[in-house]
Amino acid sequence: MSVINYKFRNEVLKHNASLSYCYQCSTCSGGCPVALLTSGNYNPRKIIEEAILGLQDKLVQSQDPNPWLCSTCQKCVELCPQKVELTEIFVLIKNRCFKQSKTPEAFLAQAQAVLENGVAIPYSKAILTRRDKLGLPEVKTASLDEINELLQETNFKKHLLKEG
């Protein structure tokens, strides 16, 4: 059984007031490519409903529906007749998942790469040779000290290290 978490509910509403405009018409789910292909297992309307009700355990712990299946195509946001900022709310929920170690591995791998290299894809020797062959200039990426300091400041490093 799901329990209403008032603290979570108030935090979500405070963070994004557009949530309270939702009248559950399901236009979002009707236009969602992932809802269509998963026979409604992934369902943006339901995520919004659970957020309005403050069902943190459903959204973050059991991830039902799974917010990580959103393709970020942003159709729901364009279609919503009430201008609910759905993907903004999904970001908030997924950010919560990250802080509670409920994030798919591939997201963490990308985050780790950015932490270690400043960029998501480090430059391999083969690519450097290929760049040279194509006549492309050398790319001077960010100072790692600077990135490190910034990611410490946003607590990103702490959460990522917690994930191991």
């Binding site: 490519p33 992932v34 990580w68 950010n95 798919p104 963490l108 400043g118 194509l134 600077e146 910034l150």
Partner: protein, 291 residues
């Protein structure tokens, strides 16, 4: 006319041939692109933003703080453009966000006011359509192109502020200007499925499989994209889909800059078209293009 150039991660570090054709096109148009030292990942709006919004804002604002060109900054990648436009949008919309971001930046001796204009390279091409027309040496006659806009080139429209979010025209217009045909197909406005690969590979394959089927049925002989994530999704998965479903996809995928460069008279080898996984040679031969 000149812009700062934000390269991002995927194009320069994995698909550098897309950078080569893009640079050549801008050089030919007489639009100067300034390389800027010290950029990090934009960061990825389908990755880092989803796990930590504050980090996304901080890294994005740091990148924007390094731009110092009055014309603004352009990128060859729709994901980078969405991030940089998005960071601008939130900084200008909400003073508390602006203050928070600048508190982070202060630690590294930087500051960002939210004033750098951000554009997608395809937007700049469209804005220079007349100039583009003047430079065409070899119209791409016979090319039946399935245009894939991708999501982040258009939406959220409140942030992107470019073209129509559901009935866009800009890339179709560019393709037609080059002398090619833009083929209408079902699912044209659907997502390629790349971002869900991180959480569900089968779903991601289903999404791209449906698009490829519609493109094949419509009789297109190639696809054009403006985002490296879409490029990889379309090109890298055809073989796998063929193995899984007994299909015979072998559809060349082009970056918009490659088609423009070909029409400008650049040779395929100058553009690194040999680095494509799906070789366009047979298509070029059938159209009588010199290879």
């Amino acid at each position: 006319m000149s812009y700062d150039l934000f390269l991002g991660c995927v194009i320069p570090a994995r698909l550098p041939f897309l950078e080569a054709s893009s640079r050549k096109v801008f050089e030919k148009l007489g639009i100067k692109l300034n390389d800027v030292d010290g950029f990090s990942c934009c960061p990825d709006p389908t990755g880092i933003e989803q796990i930590d919004r504050n980090t996304w804002l901080a890294l994005g604002a740091r990148n924007l703080s390094l731009c110092n060109n009055n014309g603004g900054v352009i990128s060859f990648c729709s994901g980078c453009v969405e991030t940089l436009k998005g960071v601008n949008y939130f900084i200008n919309k909400d003073l508390t966000i602006k203050k928070k971001v600048n508190r982070y930046l202060q630690k590294i001796g930087k500051t960002y006011e939210g004033k750098t204009e951000v554009k997608h390279f395809a937007q700049v091409l469209y804005e220079n359509l007349e100039k583009l027309k003047e430079n065409i040496e070899k119209p791409l006659e016979g090319l039946k192109v399935a245009v894939h806009y991708g999501c982040h080139y258009l939406r959220p429209s409140e942030i992107i502020e470019w073209d129509d979010p559901f009935e866009p025209i800009t890339i179709d217009e560019i393709v037609k200007t080059l002398g090619a045909e833009s083929v209408e197909y079902d699912l044209k406005m659907e997502c390629c499925g790349n971002p869900v690969e991180k959480s569900d590979k089968d779903l991601s394959l289903l999404m791209i499989g449906n698009k490829l089927k519609a493109i094949q049925q419509a009789g297109a002989n190639c696809v054009v994209v403006v985002c490296p994530a879409c490029y990889q999704q379309f090109e890298f998965n055809q073989k796998e889909l063929n193995k899984l479903n007994n299909t015979d996809y072998n559809i060349p995928i082009f970056y918009l800059s490659e088609l423009v460069a070909l029409a400008f008279g650049f040779k395929p080898e100058e553009l690194g078209l040999n680095f494509h996984r799906i070789k366009p040679n047979t298509l070029f031969e059938s159209l009588g293009f010199e290879i």
